[in-house]
Point group: C2
Chain length 813, copies 2
Amino acid sequence: MDDDVPLILTLDDSGSSASAPLDDLDREELPNENGGSYDVINDASSPAAGDCCAQQSSARHNWEMNYQEAAIYLQEGENNDKFFTHPKNAKALAAYLFAHNHLFYLMELSTALLLLLLSLCEAPAVPMLRLGIFVHATLELFALIVVVFELSMKMRWLGFQTFIRHKRTMVKTCVLFVQFIEAIVVLVRQTSHVRITRALRCIFLVDCRYCGAVRRNLRQIFQSLPPFIDILLLLLFFMVIFAILGFYLFSPNHSDPYFNTLENSLVNLFVLLTTSNFPDVMMPSYARNPWSCVFFIVYLSIELYFIMNLLLAVVFDTFNDIEKRKFKSLLLHKRTAIQHAYRLLITKQRPSGISFKHFEGLLRFYKPRMCARERYLTFKALNQSNTPLVSLKDFYNFYEVVGLKWKAKRNREHWFDDLPRTAFLIFKGINILVKSRVFQYTMYTVVAVNGIWILVETFMLQGGNFFSRNVPWSYIVFLTIYGVELLLKTTGLGPVEYLSSGWNLFDFSVTLFAFLGLMALAFNMEPFYFIVVLRPLQLLRLFKLKKRYRNVLDTMFELFPRMASLGLTLLIFYYCFAIVGMEFFAGVVYPNCCNTSTVADSYRWVNHTVGNKTVVEEGYYYLNNFDNILNSFVTLFELTVVNDWYIIMEGVTSQTTHWSRLYFMIFYIVTMVVMTIIVAFILDAFVFRMNYTRKNQDSEEDNGIVLEKEISKEEVVGIIELYKRSSSATETAQLQKIVLQMDKYGQMSTLFLGRRSRTKSDLSMKMYEEEIQEWYEEHSRKEESPTPLQEPASASNSSLKPLSRRQRSQTVI
Amino acid sequence: MDDDVPLILTLDDSGSSASAPLDDLDREELPNENGGSYDVINDASSPAAGDCCAQQSSARHNWEMNYQEAAIYLQEGENNDKFFTHPKNAKALAAYLFAHNHLFYLMELSTALLLLLLSLCEAPAVPMLRLGIFVHATLELFALIVVVFELSMKMRWLGFQTFIRHKRTMVKTCVLFVQFIEAIVVLVRQTSHVRITRALRCIFLVDCRYCGAVRRNLRQIFQSLPPFIDILLLLLFFMVIFAILGFYLFSPNHSDPYFNTLENSLVNLFVLLTTSNFPDVMMPSYARNPWSCVFFIVYLSIELYFIMNLLLAVVFDTFNDIEKRKFKSLLLHKRTAIQHAYRLLITKQRPSGISFKHFEGLLRFYKPRMCARERYLTFKALNQSNTPLVSLKDFYNFYEVVGLKWKAKRNREHWFDDLPRTAFLIFKGINILVKSRVFQYTMYTVVAVNGIWILVETFMLQGGNFFSRNVPWSYIVFLTIYGVELLLKTTGLGPVEYLSSGWNLFDFSVTLFAFLGLMALAFNMEPFYFIVVLRPLQLLRLFKLKKRYRNVLDTMFELFPRMASLGLTLLIFYYCFAIVGMEFFAGVVYPNCCNTSTVADSYRWVNHTVGNKTVVEEGYYYLNNFDNILNSFVTLFELTVVNDWYIIMEGVTSQTTHWSRLYFMIFYIVTMVVMTIIVAFILDAFVFRMNYTRKNQDSEEDNGIVLEKEISKEEVVGIIELYKRSSSATETAQLQKIVLQMDKYGQMSTLFLGRRSRTKSDLSMKMYEEEIQEWYEEHSRKEESPTPLQEPASASNSSLKPLSRRQRSQTVI
């Protein structure tokens, strides 16, 4: 085992003697051929060091480095990082490792968040959070310095050349530079100037490792833009035509304020596109001539009902296409990563596969938290053949298998199997009861009755003093029923099995909340009263009844991460617009501000006395302002919902210039893009999922991915031997526990179950099953005949490599 | 040729002697085996009539009947009429023929339209069109009597039993009965009572032959309903939960009118779902506690942005699925129809195919307008083999081929090839110029300049007296340029080729309109001034430039018929709601009607004098009423657009009961269904089309379906012989002209081009290419082993048939 030499290094030592059986790999022209060949290693692995012990330790050192680099490749494959950012030497590796762990990521994230949150305290600040200029500017400087540190680590890892070439990092550097200067200026002048550049702060968040999904969304949005813009132009074109027409038709009517100038005509037709001013904009001309409604009906039919839907169709189609291409490229990228890693793990002696020893070494770097048992199970799950080696073909499944959570298949069916006979019978009875249909439907009935009860109760309550201090008896009754149900289910199924189902978890938390609500009512805790209103949530349980709802809710949960990232993307756009809005429109809108505009009513605040009563006439729209970032967010949400957004626009416009409309219109278009993409995403996801279920109608219920593997006692003993040699005591002990347990039950082997939830990628794998093989073939064909045009980065990279390798081998020999 | 006896009749005469080579047909178990076997025929074709001449004429008579029935089968296949409505005897056939021609269809349509249009003149009538009760009731009675006549014809054709079983017809009969009674009651009482049943009048329109597309749409809408309703329930469920929550949270705030009762809370959240009251509904609570916006943001995110899109996804998915299933069933139905027709056209002597003589006979009934040349070409196009017979396999392409328009391929490349040398050169030059890219792009530039000119001109004009009596010179200049272009193109390409392109047709008509506009301006014709504003339409020509726009516009034209039918479907819903609205809400809304409601402002009409100026404060919303059917339609359109619809709802509600809200809410849901389906349709059509173009990227530009066939002189002479015998002089003359022309140019054959535009069905054929073969196989398998459960209608039909055939053969022999 000591002559177990990595293949890649041996290539340098003994020429191509071992490369013959590796045709398939050599053919593939791995772009980064100096993998596992950091300077340090090369110095140490010099065969000139004749001493056997030194050689052995250097071999181990080599292996450690190989493991690490393989793990890095696999991580890059998983995260879709391009290989040209792969660390190239030991210094870079150190920086890479420093910059690639959760602590660093957290630092990145918290600095970015700090910078974003600063807008709460700066100039038009939220009143409660206002900070002195000195304080927030210092905070900002501090955060920026941290960013500088992060960037310098990145530069160290990437090297100057790659750093320069990496677009996103360069943009970040520029923004950083500008921010730095501005922060210093603020600190020196001690006043805030107009700082629209603050809108660019989002880039720090977008660049975070944890915000990869947001980056992907942004890329997808930008990729969907060209067709979107084409249709948008069509939309605007018709708008201009209709604006001219409308101006000619309606401007002779002097009581019509909407079409008196071409600009008004355009603006009002833009607003009409959002339907926001609809019957109003038509009314003056309609009152004069009923047939003028034809103009508006035709306009809305063309623009709103046809072209806007066309927009959705085009975006949906592009989105669909991009999703597929993205899936394809990620799949091929992962495949390449696996090939790279594989090359680093095979030995000169056994080039046809990876032995467990090396696989275990890889996992130690790739997933340090994994225990020895899981490592072995992963290895076994990968290994399809009966040989002790994992071939490249098997290794391709690495990403699918490594995510599995392994658990020993319990020998006991129920948690109470070991209890004495009487207890067993009782629990068995409860178990049967709980699993029976009658019990389920009884509970549904109870929930339905509860729902009707709540409705009726609320209806009877109206106007009365409904936060009485008495706890209503119905509440207690229903809660008792739910409590009993919870108790029965927990005892019948065992707490672990009970909580492993998402629906049970939901029941549990709702009942818990309801109980807390009861406590709140009982002890008169005012602030808890909102828990009372969570009661209707129980009714959600009814949706378990129908398959379509289950499907919808399952899909919802599956989509949740993606939806959240889309939401975050929207928030980032919001942030940019909020900053710009605050810089331009802070303090512009206030009660009775817009008495000269057409929307004066909405901003009115009159406090007049009629008789001896004070009547307050409030338009409330002055609340929709840009006075601080929270207000801005609410205002922007209102603009997103689109209804009556022109009131906000006209209010602001009347207090500033009419160029302000540009801000609102651009915001409308941007949110339209994002919203259309969100709609396209939901559409795509659901249609995809429904097609999937239609394709697999006969297959069993969807329980995620499950794999079964059996381990015999001898195998465990063998691994223990292996670990003993590498002297890792904790892992040996853990494994020995398994042996003991086997002995206890007198088994010769234990069955383990690997389980993980199904991801979109799994679904796509199944959907594109046939195409995937084609992609692979096409991919390997391309790799066979690499054209320099297709991969300029790797090509320029490899042009550097042969040189460095020659240099190295010269110093070595 | 005289012993040319139809196969079907011979089956009765001489047993199954001829059926041996027809294995493939017999296997297929045609459901309607008594085809071509009307009593008349059977009587006439009795072999007992020994006289040869009588036999011959009876054989011809037989053939005529067979042709007719085959044509009927093919028509039924094309129109997707079920075969159980196939006429079963000679009397039925007469009625069938009477009820299946355009005159009858037109009568149907005009009666239906008359009945619908009556609502213009009835009780809450359009002021200008008001008719006396006696007049419109008489008109109605007249129309209803016509409908009775139509129905009786249908009964005669279908037979009483089928008539009873035909659901749509039965509903129609019931509605007719009710309408009759009501019309008589109106006539007797001489006053209109509440006649909500008038809303059912649409059924007469829906049942029209010409409204088949509307029927299909309605069916599709009803088929999409179940999943739609599921998601709608989810929507309403969340609405109720939030209503309860909102009531608890916001009713303590007495300045909040939106949540003071549970009913208000529900209604306002329903309106919020449409975003129609958005920032307003939030404002009172937002003013009190800024965090209350979370409630509204969460509500809108769940309901509007998630569940509403889910609704679209579900409908889109269902729609997609239904479209495919519909295409499949229509395809198989057509196939069965072709099999039926084929059986009627083959002879005892030559059972392996249809000869031209019989094919020609079929076409005489199926497409009476076709000339002899086209019939022969269609036959040739169908005939893939070299035999003179069309086999069943070839005959399956009948529907694809019969729609082709045949034209002799011109020997001349240009229309001016025959002109003298000088003229030829001039025209050739123009032709080259017109086809050059430079010319095209020059014209685009001109159009662009014109566009900018119009914009600038309009912008400069504002407020001025812009309908000056002087014709602006720019107008003349541009028009001259367009005129010259038109002239050049017509002369260079020849008028026929010029007008064969849709875009040129568009150019032509726009230029013509512009010219008419100029005339109108020059002669001061006021009413024509709207033509002036059509000028910007020229700009549409710019969209020829980009491929995506061409695609979009092409798809738009392809979709137009379907869109129109969807629009008509929507109008039918409008009609129903308009009638109901008029019956309940006519005259309810008027200026200053709703001073007690929350929307009083919108209905205000105040005419007060400030100083010596009269200021009119108009809310205009009283114009959105149900006072007559036209107003109702406009109001319903406003409700469809959804913005501010609650103002109309609240206005009406404040004048009637709060149950009126039900009307508006139901209308909202119905239009939501229809609109979602329209969106799904547009999405589906475009995505389908884009997938299609992506699939056929390398194929040539889309020019519709083109087929080329060559006819030699001998063939034409042969056909002339055939026609001479059947003594149809006009057709013989027509064919002789072709021979003459061939002689003139000294050709031995002429090339003909068959052309038709591509339909959705063609696209589907290409898209589902692989699946279609499966369907066919599955279909023929099913026909082999017919299970009574799958096709109850045809099964119950066929149980009747053997009997009738036996009866017949008994009477014959």
